[in-house]
Symmetry: C2
Subunit: 137 residues, 2 copies
């Protein structure tokens, strides 16, 4: 129930927020832009404004419900936080996105931050390449 998730995150359970969270919890989406969310909900007959989508997604990000990615091309992409931290590998041809976790890399990053005198708070790692399907084209 999205209502409970929202309350736990300290957010009022308003209609737009419920709809957006509910959409992101469908496992058919994974990585969506604000525009995607807006269009999809409009098509489903919901009536909300694009500004609200941006506001809500930003709140979700601050509440730790979603992560904002800066996939190239200017616009942001949002992903539901579930199943813990992971990084991404993207196909530069077709845009396909896969996920991975690597303990060795995670650990090295901590070490590097420490060596440079930083108190590490976060990181972002994207591997770019050509996926198996696109290699055959």
């Amino acid at each position: 129930m999205e209502t409970k998730d929202l309350k736990q995150a300290g957010l009022k359970a308003t209609l737009p927020r419920i709809k957006i969270l509910s959409l992101m919890e469908e496992n058919t989406v994974r990585h969506v832009s604000a525009e995607d969310v807006y269009k999809t909900l409009l098509e489903s007959g919901e009536d909300l404004s694009l500004a609200t989508v941006y506001r809500v997604l930003t709140q979700f990000e601050q509440a730790g419900l979603v992560t904002r990615h800066h996939f190239e091309g200017g616009h942001s992409v949002f992903e539901l936080n579930e199943g813990g931290h992971h990084d991404h590998i993207l196909c530069v041809k077709c845009g396909r996105v896969d996920e991975f976790v690597d303990a060795v890399i995670e650990e090295r990053q901590q070490k590097i931050a420490a060596e440079k005198g930083y108190d590490m708070t976060d990181h972002s790692l994207y591997i770019f390449g050509i996926c198996q399907a696109c290699q055959k084209l």
Copy 2:
């Protein structure tokens, strides 16, 4: 001589391109936005348009002379390609940027790409944290 670098990259040696490349080759800058380049050159008495700065930086990127980074906050930052590949560690408080290379991470990335069936072309890794100076504030 910037003129030769430009010719080798397949670009006409025009005045704006020479000025911009020359600015980026000063080791005082490292990471600059289009706006930075524009303002700096205006202050040096050069007369060029912001549109040209964007065009030229994009061409430099395509020619492999510079790399475009998507440091958060919407705008792009450019860096001269020299001294080989490296990754970045950024302070989330003051914006300071340091560089590093880690062979272990580089190698793990190749391995992960291979496991996922990707032919890796590139990657981007940013570590975020609080730098030594900002920790003391």
